[in-house]
C-alpha cells in the first residue's frame, strides 16, 4: 500500500518539477536589466565583450529555445556554466553540504530545544516553566533574524569568544551559532505548537478514558497524548527544513557562510539566470522530498491518516 503511494507521489513530482523549472526560468529571464549592464562599472562594456557574452551564454536566442536547451542539458545532468565560468553543478556541490549542515543544526535545535520546551510547558500549564517558554518564544518571534544574528555574533562571537565569529570554512563547529540563530524562530514556533497541542490533547476524552481504565498517567500521556500532539509539529519541522535551505540568506551573510542562500542572492544581483535556476530547482526537489517524508511519518504517527 505504502509503496504504491510513494511511487505515485514520486511520479507526481515530474510535472511539478518541470513546471517549476519553466516558471523559474521565465522569472530569471524576465528580470529587469541587461546582464552586462553592471559588469563594467560606470563604463559601458565594449561591444565586442557584449557580443561575446551574449553568444557565450546563449542570451541572443529566443526564450523558448534557451529553455529547451536548458532542459535538454538538465536531463544530461548538466546545469550549465555560470557567469563566473564555473559549472553550476560545481557551485551547488560545494555549497549544498554547508547549507544542509546549517539546516541540520537548525532542525536538531528545533527538535531538541523546541519540542522539549513545548512538552515541558504543556505538562506544566500555568506554572512558571510554562510562562518562561511562552515569554521567551514571544521575544524570539518578535526580533527580526538579522538583529538576532548580529547580536549573537557580537555577544557570543566577538565579546565572549564562545563561538566562531564567522563560518567561512563551513565546519560543524563554526556553524553552531548560525544554526541556532537560523533555527531560533522555528524553535519558538515548534515550542508553541507542541505546547498548545499537548494541552489540548491532555484535556481530550480519550486521555481521560485511558486514565479511567486504570492506565498510568505516564503511559496515557506518553503513548496517546504526546504522539498525537507531535503530528502538527513534525509537519512544521519538515516544512521548515526546506524553508531554511533557501531562506538562510540573512544568516549566511551575517556569518559569511558560503551557502545556497548567498549563491541565490549573488546570482539575482548578477542577473545570472543559469545559477539561479539550478539552485532553485534543487531546492524545489528537496522541498518535494521533505514533504513526502513528512507525509510518510504522518501516517505512522497517526494511523487514521490513510494514504489510500
Amino acid at each position: 500500500m505504502m509503496g504504491k503511494y510513494v511511487v505515485r507521489r514520486l511520479l507526481m513530482m515530474i510535472p511539478t518539477f518541470l513546471g517549476a523549472t519553466l516558471l523559474i526560468y521565465f522569472l530569471a529571464y524576465a528580470m529587469p536589466g541587461d546582464p552586462t549592464a553592471g559588469r563594467c562599472g560606470d563604463r559601458q562594456c565594449p561591444p565586442s565583450y557584449v557580443a561575446w557574452f551574449r553568444a557565450h551564454y546563449g542570451l541572443d536566442k529566443p526564450f523558448l529555445e534557451q529553455y529547451w536547451m536548458y532542459i535538454q542539458n538538465l536531463f544530461r545532468g548538466d546545469l550549465g556554466v555560470n557567469y563566473y565560468q564555473n559549472t553550476v553543478v560545481h557551485e551547488l556541490a560545494i555549497r549544498y553540504p554547508t547549507t544542509i549542515k546549517l539546516a541540520v543544526i537548525a532542525v536538531l535545535c528545533e527538535i531538541i530545544i523546541g519540542m522539549a520546551a513545548g512538552i515541558l510547558a504543556g505538562i506544566s500549564k500555568g506554572k512558571f516553566i510554562d510562562s518562561l517558554v511562552t515569554v521567551s518564544t514571544l521575544v524570539v518571534i518578535a526580533i527580526p533574524v538579522f538583529v538576532l544574528g548580529s547580536l549573537a555574533q557580537m555577544v557570543f562571537g566577538i565579546k565572549l569568544k564562545w563561538f566562531a565569529v564567522t563560518a567561512g570554512d563551513g565546519t560543524w563547529r563554526q556553524l553552531l551559532l548560525p544554526g541556532l540563530v537560523l533555527g531560533s524562530l522555528y524553535i519558538a514556533y515548534v515550542a508553541r505548537l507542541t505546547r498548545t497541542n499537548l494541552i489540548e490533547n491532555l484535556r481530550a476524552d480519550y486521555v481521560r478514558t485511558a486514565k479511567a481504565k486504570g492506565m498510568s498517567t505516564t503511559r496515557a500521556f506518553g503513548v496517546h497524548a504526546l504522539r498525537n500532539s507531535l503530528v502538527p509539529s513534525i509537519t512544521y519541522i519538515g516544512a521548515s527544513f526546506g524553508g531554511m535551505m533557501g531562506g538562510a540568506i540573512v544568516t549566511e551573510r551575517i556569518f559569511n557562510i558560503n551557502g545556497i542562500g548567498g549563491l541565490i542572492w549573488r546570482s539575482i544581483n548578477q542577473r545570472d539566470g543559469t545559477t539561479l535556476v539550478g539552485a532553485v530547482v534543487v531546492l524545489v526537489l528537496i522541498y518535494m522530498f521533505m514533504t513526502l517524508i513528512v507525509d510518510i511519518i504522518y501516517s505512522w504517527l497517526d494511523p487514521r491518516i490513510s494514504h489510500e
Partner: protein, 549 residues
C-alpha cells in the same frame, strides 16, 4: 499582580536559559604562521571575471592581480606616480611613436623570461574582438585597433587581422608602439593591469577563454596565485620575482567574504588580518576607530586618499527638457552643502569635491568647480531667473550601494534651498541603474562614480566627457572641450598637457553636465598581528608595506 511578577521572572530566566544553551564554547583560531613563514589573511571577494589582466575590471579580481602582475610601469604606492618596472625605458619624441625597452632577465613565475613578444601578443589577444575581453578598449589608442573590431552594425564577426599594426617587435627586449592619435600620457596608461604581459603558457592554453590558465594564472609580479577556490585565493611570494616592488610577507590569503560587516567583525575579533573596506554603519560616530584599537591605544586602522570621485549627473536635455537651462543645473549644484553632508553622513570619510578630477592624480587643480561652492542665495536667484524646474526632480541611486542617506540629505537641501521638490529614486541594484543610464531612460539626476584606471588627469575627463566617449552618460558634447583634449594629448611635456586638460575641465564648470559631489578615501582596518599597513591610491593593498608585530 502575581502573574505580572511571574512573567518578568520568566523573562529573566529565559534570557539565562538562552545563555545556557549556547554555552558550549569553541575558540576560533587566529591566522596561521606556517614553518617560520610569515602569512596574513586579507578580505577578498569573488572576482566577477576570469583572473586575466584583460578580463578584470573590478576590485575583487583587481586586488589580486595588483599583487601578481608586473607591468611595464608600476604606480608608486604613496602618490601613484609612474615608475618603470619591467621597462627600462619608454621613449617618444612626438607622443605617437614610442620605443619600449625591457629589462633583461625579468622572469615570469614559471621561470621563463619576459620578452617583447609577451607584451605584444598579449595585447593583440586582448584587443581581438572575438576574444570578447572587457578591457579591450584600453588598447584603442594603438594604431590598427579598429581592424581587430567588428563593424558597428555587426555583433559577431571574425576579423581577418589579428595583430595591431601599431605594435612591432624589434628584438627580444625592444618593441615599438604607434598610436593612431597623439597620446602624451601613454606611459602612465601602460601601468594599467590590462597592459600586463602574458607568458608562453598563456598562449599554449587551448581552453575556452583561457579559463584553465585563469584559475591559477602565471605572471611576473611579486606574488603568485597557488590556490584558487570559492572561499579563498592563496598568494605566495614569487621565487623568480625580478622587480623592485617585493612584498613584505611570504603568504597572503584572500578570504572571500560576501558581506563587508562579516569581514569587519572578523578583523575586530582578530580572525582576519586586514580589511580594505569598513562598512558604512561603522563610520557613524567613528565607531570603527573605537573598535579597532590596540590595548596600548595605538590604532588598528588607517585611511588613504584614493582616485575615486562621486558625481551626480544631469540627464541631458533630450531626456529631461526641464534641465536644459544651465542656470538650473548651476543652481542645483550651488544649493548642495557638500561639507555638511560630508560631516554628518560620512563623518568626513569623504571630502567635498571642488572639481571633476581627483586630488590623487598628477594634473589636479583645486577649486575648478565654482558652482560647487555652497551659496543658497545665489542658487535661488539663478533658479528663479531660469524659471524653475517643472514638477519633481528625481535623484536616482542604486539601492544596494548604501547611497540613500546622502542622496536623501542632498534632496532635502535642494528642496529647502530652491523650493524644488526632490525625491530619491532607488533602483534595486547597481546593474539596474547602469541599465537605465545606458538606455538613457532616466530623467532628473543620477549618481555616477569614477575610479581612475591610471593616475592621469586625462582619465577623469576623456572617458567621461569627450564626445561619444564610452562613459559619457550625459551625452555631453563640446567641440572646444574635445579640441583641448586633443591638444593636451599631443603635448609632449607634462606641464603643457596638464594645463590644457585643466582648461578643458574649466569648461565643465561652464556647461555643468554633471556636478561633482565627493572625493572618496579608503578606510581600512587590521588585526593585532599587523603593526602597520598602507593602501595605495587605487584602494589596493600595498603588500610591500606590511609590518607584522
Amino acid at each position: 499582580m502575581r502573574t505580572h511578577t511571574r512573567v518578568i521572572t520568566a523573562g529573566i530566566a529565559a534570557a539565562l536559559m538562552l545563555l545556557g544553551t549556547t554555552a558550549c564554547s569553541s575558540n576560533p583560531g587566529g591566522s596561521p604562521t606556517t614553518g617560520g613563514l610569515t602569512s596574513i589573511t586579507v578580505r577578498g571577494c569573488t572576482p566577477q571575471h576570469p583572473l586575466l589582466p584583460v578580463s578584470t575590471n573590478e576590485v575583487c579580481g583587481g586586488n589580486v592581480l595588483d599583487a601578481t602582475e608586473a607591468k611595464l610601469v608600476h604606480y608608486n604606492s604613496d602618490d601613484a606616480s609612474p615608475e618603470l618596472d619591467v621597462a627600462s625605458s619608454i621613449d617618444t619624441t612626438d607622443a605617437i611613436h614610442w620605443t619600449v625597452k625591457l629589462q633583461q632577465g625579468y622572469m615570469f613565475q614559471d621561470g621563463t623570461e619576459v620578452k617583447a613578444h609577451n607584451f605584444v601578443d598579449a595585447w593583440n589577444w586582448g584587443a581581438y574582438a572575438p576574444n570578447g575581453q572587457v578591457n579591450a578598449s584600453f588598447f584603442e589608442p594603438i594604431e590598427g585597433f579598429d581592424d581587430l573590431q567588428c563593424p558597428a552594425d555587426q555583433a559577431d564577426c571574425t576579423p581577418a587581422v589579428t595583430e595591431m599594426s601599431g605594435l612591432k617587435v624589434i628584438d627580444d627586449y625592444t618593441f615599438t608602439i604607434t598610436t593612431t592619435d597623439p597620446t602624451s600620457n601613454l606611459k602612465v596608461r601602460l601601468g594599467y593591469t590590462a597592459f600586463a604581459p602574458q607568458p608562453d603558457a598563456f598562449f599554449a592554453d587551448t581552453s575556452d577563454g583561457k579559463a584553465d590558465f585563469a584559475k591559477t594564472p602565471i605572471a611576473a609580479g611579486p606574488y603568485q596565485i597557488t590556490e584558487h577556490t570559492d572561499t579563498q585565493m592563496v598568494l605566495q611570494k614569487n621565487a623568480n620575482y625580478s622587480g623592485k616592488f617585493t612584498g613584505a610577507v611570504d603568504q597572503v590569503t584572500f578570504k572571500i567574504y560576501n558581506d563587508l560587516s562579516a569581514a569587519y567583525n572578523d578583523v575586530v575579533a582578530n580572525n582576519l588580518d586586514i580589511t580594505d573596506v569598513i562598512p558604512s554603519d561603522q563610520l557613524v560616530g567613528d565607531a570603527w576607530k573605537n573598535d579597532l584599537v590596540n590595548s596600548d591605544g595605538t590604532p588598528r586602522w588607517g585611511t588613504k586618499a584614493t582616485g575615486v570621485i562621486q558625481v551626480v549627473s544631469f540627464a541631458n536635455a533630450k531626456q529631461d527638457p526641464g534641465l536644459t537651462d544651465v542656470r538650473i543645473r548651476e543652481a542645483i549644484s550651488m544649493a548642495v552643502d557638500r561639507a555638511q553632508i560630508a560631516s554628518t553622513i560620512f563623518n568626513n570619510a569623504r571630502t567635498p569635491a571642488t572639481g571633476w578630477v581627483s586630488p590623487a592624480v598628477d594634473g589636479y587643480k583645486a577649486d575648478q568647480c565654482t558652482n560647487c561652492v555652497f551659496d543658497p542665495t545665489k542658487a535661488k536667484e539663478l533658479y528663479d531667473a531660469a524659471g524653475g524646474y517643472p514638477g519633481t526632480l528625481s535623484l536616482w541611486v542604486n539601492g544596494d550601494g548604501g547611497h540613500d542617506p546622502w542622496a536623501t540629505a542632498m534632496c532635502n537641501q535642494i528642496t529647502n534651498n530652491l523650493g524644488l521638490p526632490c525625491v530619491v529614486q532607488d533602483t534595486p541594484d547597481f546593474a539596474t541603474l547602469r541599465d537605465k543610464i545606458q538606455k538613457r531612460e532616466l530623467t532628473g539626476m543620477f549618481r555616477t562614480g569614477w575610479q581612475m584606471d591610471y593616475p592621469s588627469i586625462e582619465n577623469f575627463l576623456a572617458p567621461i566627457y569627450a564626445t561619444g566617449a564610452s562613459s559619457n552618460d550625459t551625452d555631453y558634447s563640446n567641440p572646444q572641450f574635445d579640441s583641448l583634449l586633443k591638444q593636451a594629448a599631443a603635448a609632449t611635456d607634462d606641464a603643457t598637457a596638464n594645463s590644457l586638460y585643466q582648461q578643458a575641465e574649466a569648461l565643465l564648470n561652464v556647461d555643468m553636465p554633471t556636478m561633482p559631489t565627493f572625493y572618496q578615501a579608503s578606510q581600512f582596518g587590521f588585526s593585532t598581528k599587523v603593526k602597520s599597513v598602507k593602501m595605495t591610491p587605487f584602494s589596493t593593498f600595498d603588500f610591500g608595506s606590511v609590518v607584522l608585530n
